[in-house]
Amino acid sequence: MTRTVTLEQLARLCRTGSESLRAPDVEISGSPALDAALPGGGWLVGSMVEMMPNTMGIGELQLLMPTLARISQGERYVAFISPPLIPFPPALSQQGLRLSHLLVIRAEKPADVLWACEQTLRCKSFGAVVSWPTTIKDREVRRLQLAAEAGRSIGFLYRPIDAALEASPAATRLRLLSTQDGSLRVEILKCRGGRAGVTVDCTRLRDSVGLSDTSSTATHSAVLAACS
């Protein structure tokens, strides 16, 4: 009995570098499969999470919506920093996000984006900060990581998929891909205190809602070209 306890403690020490038996604070992601794969059973509070989707519109923001909705329903606030398009309020409120607890910050210069991220992460009133920086260096991610620890909030950072090849001090790094059947595949590249290399398939919420009538689905694969 004592031996198993000791072993468990040793394993935790190896993983997290701390001996405490207390489980880390987490915000559950709302997707059972992902929660199971993440250490502690959700997003680690006080850390940075890097998300690297291969393209826009595969459900990369959808993945966060349950967490953001829950945070905004509580006392704390959610900040969006330099979103690439308009976060559409009707959809946000549909997903349960309390719009009065959402702050949008538009910064153009990379330095301003970073600064705004740091300020909001440090502020204890923000539970989650979602940002879309154009460029960010690993040294800067470390600064944000420290800010998130100080403010006990979660920083979600959207980066291009190429960034997956570089190293980063973020606590959690996820590569987001879409599968053939339209669900979202999450590859855990790194996670502090857990096992990396796990792949999780999350079903997209709008498919499970079942608003669509699949009978009209055409067999052709879509070839769409956007012309500016």
């Binding site: 291969n54 393209t55 826009m56 519109g57 595969i58 459900g59 990369e60 923001l61 959808q62 919506m65 690439p84 398009l85 308009i86 559409f88 309020p89 009707p90 959809a91 946000l92 409120s93 549909q94 997903q95 719009l99 009065s100 959402l102 702050l103 949008v104 910050i105 538009r106 910064a107 600064w115 705004a116 300020q119 909001t120 440090r122 502020c123 204890k124 009133s125 923000f126 891909l177 879409s178 599968t179 053939q180 339209g182 709008r206 809602v209 608003l211 669509s212 009538d213 699949t214 009209s216 689905t217 055409a218 052709h220 694969s221 879509a222 070839v223 769409l224 070209a225 956007a226 012309c227």
Partner: protein, 478 residues
Amino acid sequence: MLWLCISLPLLPLEALRTDIGDAATVVTATERSARWVICCNPAAERAYLKPAMNYTVALAVCPQVIPIDRKPQAEQAALERLAAWAYQFSSSVILNEISADLRQARSAALWLEIGASLKLFGGLRNLLEDLEQQLISMQYSYRLGIGPTLEGAALLARAGIRIATTTPHALYLRIRSLPISKLTLDPDTTLQLHTAGVRTVGLLLELPRDAVAKRFGPKTANLLYRLMGEAADPRSAYRLPDRYAAQFDFGFDISSTETLLFPLSRMLREFAGYLRARDTAVQRFKLVFSHRQQPPTELLIGMSLAERNAERFLTLVRERLERTELPAPTCMLELSATEFSSPTALQPDLLKSELEHTEDLTHTIDRIAARLGEDQVHGLQAVADHRPEASWSTAQFNSKQSAAVFPDRPLWLLPEPKPLQMTATPRIVSGPERIESGWWDSGEVQRDYFVVNAGDGSQWWVFQDLRDRNWYLHGFWS
């Protein structure tokens, strides 16, 4: 009555500089075609320069001395700013006029009646501690004197006697051994008294007053009466203005933002003192930076909560300044505020933690808005309209939200619909959803919306315009 006198011996210098510096600096003024030193900084004093020295002599003693021309208006402005600040400690503040007379240049002072304030501030010691701490943070050199009469307090301050005296007799005991040069008599009278063997204030006070009046003029006797509280000393009290307008004319150009922060810090502290004196706060104040050649730059500093904390003001101003390019070096600063409101969240509350929470939040948002611009930081709201582009708007952060119910909508909306070229039939996930609306304003739409799967696994929100049959991309189903 108990008067506290704040004497400001270096005001001619400090009205123009916030940093009195390590280099020997003197303030000079010209009288009868000669240039005189009227005020020296400590470095100049170490170089054996003295007030009332001829500037030519001063140059001979210390060739590298930096001269600054005296500006009585700047001194008057500084004294008035200080009077507004001092009002927080007392309801009657008196300031002496800045005199053009060179010999009186170092006698700038203001008086506060503190007898009535002692209880409020928890005793003399606490009051002085608070007052001195603020004076130091504003970087003024000062001397304090506390006495039962205006002249008595001023004499104690000039002599550097910090022991409070409450009765004329106690005052007499403190001042009797002081040399008569400490009194503000004109130099001829001082010389006359010296030759008559009257060297100390005590000796002068022991002489019969009518004899003093006869021999040394009624002015001298009157001063003694007022010193000992035997005659009334009517002065006009300073009245707190309804609107705040202060200016700081440094008389030289400041080009670096960092250097500008020193005078700004002093001005904002004085402003905060004024706000405390009126027991009010501001949400908005204006800063004007004057330049020599260019039109002045105006900065409007706004806050989401009414505030009166100088540090907070300074943080916001610093953020704004870092973002603002001043077209030319600044030679004068003005600060003004016209609208005041009662301070928010200043009382410690039962729900203290929640209070700190909101304070923390608003301060963070203010800081970000100050740096990025107020319209770059906002909330969002849904608007009850069928047209997607009209169904949302930016809103003031934390504003009340109307409850509008919408059908399924994508998380990302494009600012403008993007024309699409359809090369094959897309894989439709759902649709069509027809939206025909807006005939009453110019933005009429007739569209069929579809959710489609793009080849790369992303879901797009596209529509066909029913009027011209063209396809557009309008959002991403993230």
